[in-house]
């Protein structure tokens, strides 16, 4: 794992991608810091961070696009997978290298509250917890990007699909509002979502019988619940999906001044789920 971590770090800085990433993040952070905090006199650095969260849409694909697709394209994955190193270690080595590169601009941004302090009063606790939340949000996004890179051989496809997925996540709150909120609408959406999951199960298991039973359950159980207590279906889907929003957590820190531990745990879990999926996707490729 250490070997891969070191090699990745080195290649980020010899291939310029690491430098471009850091320069890009630093430049935008600097501009927002100047406009929000220095010119307009906001005392909290968090407000600058909350308006800059779109930065991930561009910066994360730059960082993650090559992580696995390049190895596959150059067939160097043959070296990694035939070396006496387990696959989770390979994936972790790469992931840690990426979040270390991301740590560099964040570490620099830790000096910003000190600069604000020079001109006025600052809540260090608030600012540094905002930076922490911002960093962990980035880590979750990087895991998503890494997973998408593991699915393809082309860096371009990896970058574009990462951008698309992050864009969707970025606008998640606003898009969820367009889903039906009425009880019957929620019921139908729920059944459609469950059916999609069943379709996925069928794709994986190729078992008609099993998927049929699950599908029947996925239709009957919600319908029964709906007949018994239709009121509980009001806003069901929107509320459930709203909770999945990654941006709300950052907003809790920056705008609502809440130290949202639950949210931080959520970021870390998202990162772990996607690291796990990356390992699984690599593993699966060997068997197909």
């Amino acid at each position: 794992m250490k070997a891969i971590y070191k090699k990745e770090m080195r290649s980020y800085f010899t291939s310029m991608i690491g430098c471009v990433f850091i320069a890009f993040v630093m430049a935008l952070l600097g501009i927002y810091f100047m406009v929000y905090n220095l010119s307009n006199g906001y005392t909290s650095f968090g407000s600058a961070l909350s308006s800059i969260s779109f930065i991930f849409l561009i910066a994360v694909p730059i960082l993650t696009m090559r992580s696995f697709s390049e190895e596959r394209h150059n067939k160097t994955d043959q070296l990694l997978l035939t070396a006496p190193v387990s696959l989770p270690r390979v994936v972790m080595g790469k992931y840690l290298a990426m979040i270390t590169v991301f740590l560099i601009p964040m570490a620099v941004s830790c000096t910003f509250p000190l600069i604000i302090r020079h001109y006025g009063t600052v809540s260090f606790k608030l600012d540094y917890s905002c930076i922490l939340a911002f960093y962990l949000m980035g880590c979750a996004y990087i895991a998503v990007g890494m997973f998408l890179s593991a699915l393809t051989e082309s860096q371009i496809i990896a970058a574009v699909s990462t951008f698309a997925v992050l864009f969707l996540l970025h606008l998640w709150d606003k898009l969820v509002k367009y889903l039906p909120t009425s009880a019957s609408g929620s019921l139908i959406t729920l059944i459609i979502l469950l059916s999609l999951i069943v379709l996925l199960i069928y794709k994986v298991t190729k078992n008609w019988f099993l998927s049929g039973i699950i599908e029947a359950a996925a239709v009957i159980v919600p319908v029964v619940f709906y007949i018994v207590k239709s009121a509980s279906f009001e806003n069901l889907i929107t509320n459930a999906l709203k909770n999945l929003s990654l941006r709300t957590v950052l907003e809790n820190f920056t705008t609502n001044n809440i130290f949202d531990i639950k949210g931080l745990v959520y970021y870390v879990s998202v990162a772990f789920v996607f690291i796990f999926l990356t390992i699984q996707s690599q593993q699966k490729r060997r068997w197909s």
Binding site: A3, S11, N74, K75, T76, Q78, T82, S86
Partner: protein
């Protein structure tokens, strides 16, 4: 020692490896021979743990590659068809990375990297970017990579494809040097190469092991039929007339070329040598012989016979024929390229 038991690999409907079983004994050079698409690379990828088999086991020094992948992989060095090199690294940097990846202790890393570079003779190249190396040197860096960590077995997938004649000879010498300390398994679709380098040949066709033995034994399989080829100015009837006294002849086939010469292929009964008889028969009738040669059944014929049901295979064998005529070890680069494109 590597044991492969009932290995099967299926891609959707396509059976790439079909119930393959063999054992690799330590200290020999093994050759996987087969036309393109016969399943050589797939087998090697499974043996090194890169791919998973549909069914069957690979056991390396007592460790199953699935149950104890790390222990099993430590015993194998692998050079895939395309050397797995990072273009933006220096040669030395790359080999140090591989040494660390393979878990060579920090104190020995330096020595290990130097040893491998010396053996494949790339010490002068150690501070070059891999991107700037020629194909031959890349192949050597790939070989250095495979031998780092002193694995018992080194697996080389088509190590000479795309190299020029001089490089091919050098790589072959390297393989022999490697074989002093390691068991070597190499794959090739070029018969001459396998015949020259390997102690033991396994012929694979359509994912099946069709023959496995030493080169000499394999040749003996078809030694029975011996053929004499003569070229002369005389016509078919005259040749028949001259040769009618020789009773060992089984069959003669004729071919007339545009200069008016006739080439006759004479099939002879098993175990008889009639070269001299043919010569004197022609001498007595005062007919000039332009050429007389004995064609002994070679490995090519074994290969042909074992894989003859497939049109693809014929093409591959025809290719190796071309190769042989070009004086075995010094084939021209063009034919080489053709082969890799087949």
């Amino acid at each position: 020692m590597i044991e492969v038991r009932h290995l099967v690999k299926r891609y959707d409907d396509n059976l790439a490896v079909d119930d393959l079983s063999f054992t690799i004994e330590p200290g020999k050079i093994y050759g996987f021979l087969g036309p393109n698409g016969a399943g050589k690379s797939t087998t090697m990828n499974i043996m090194t743990g890169y791919l998973g088999a549909t069914s069957g086991d690979v056991i390396v020094n007592g460790h199953n590659i699935l149950d104890e992948p790390e222990k099993a992989k430590k015993c194998i060095g692998y050079l895939p068809e395309m050397p797995p090199l990072y273009q933006d690294m220096l040669v030395r940097e790359y080999l140090e990375f591989v040494a660390e990846l393979k878990g060579v202790p920090k104190t020995e890393r330096e020595n290990e990297v130097m040893r491998s570079m010396r053996l494949v003779r790339i010490v002068d190249m150690q501070n070059r970017l891999i991107r700037n190396l020629s194909k031959g040197y890349r192949q050597r860096v790939g070989m250095a990579q495979a031998m780092i960590g002193s694995p018992d077995t080194i697996i080389l997938d088509e190590p000479t494809v795309g190299l020029d004649p001089k490089q091919i000879i050098e790589i072959r010498q390297l393989i022999r040097e490697l074989a002093k300390d390691h068991t070597v398994i190499l794959s090739s679709h070029i018969l001459a190469e396998v015949q020259e380098v390997c102690d033991y040949i396994m012929i694979i066709s359509k994912g099946k092991l069709v023959a496995s033995d030493t080169p000499d034994h394999l040749e003996e399989l078809v030694k029975g039929s011996e053929t004499i080829e003569i070229t002369t100015g005389a016509d078919e009837n005259k040749i028949k007339d001259i040769l009618k006294e020789i009773h060992e002849i089984e069959k003669i086939s004729y071919e007339k070329d545009k200069d008016g010469n006739t080439t006759a292929r004479i099939d002879v009964k098993e175990g008889s040598d009639i070269c001299e008889k043919v010569f004197f028969a022609f001498a007595d009738s005062r007919t000039a012989l332009r050429s007389l040669s004995t064609i002994r059944a070679s490995l090519e014929d074994v290969f042909l016979e074992l894989t003859k049901n497939e049109a693809d295979d014929r093409a591959a064998v025809a290719d190796t024929r071309v190769k042989k005529k070009e004086k075995d070890s010094t084939p021209k680069e063009e034919t080489n390229k053709d082969e890799s494109n087949l």
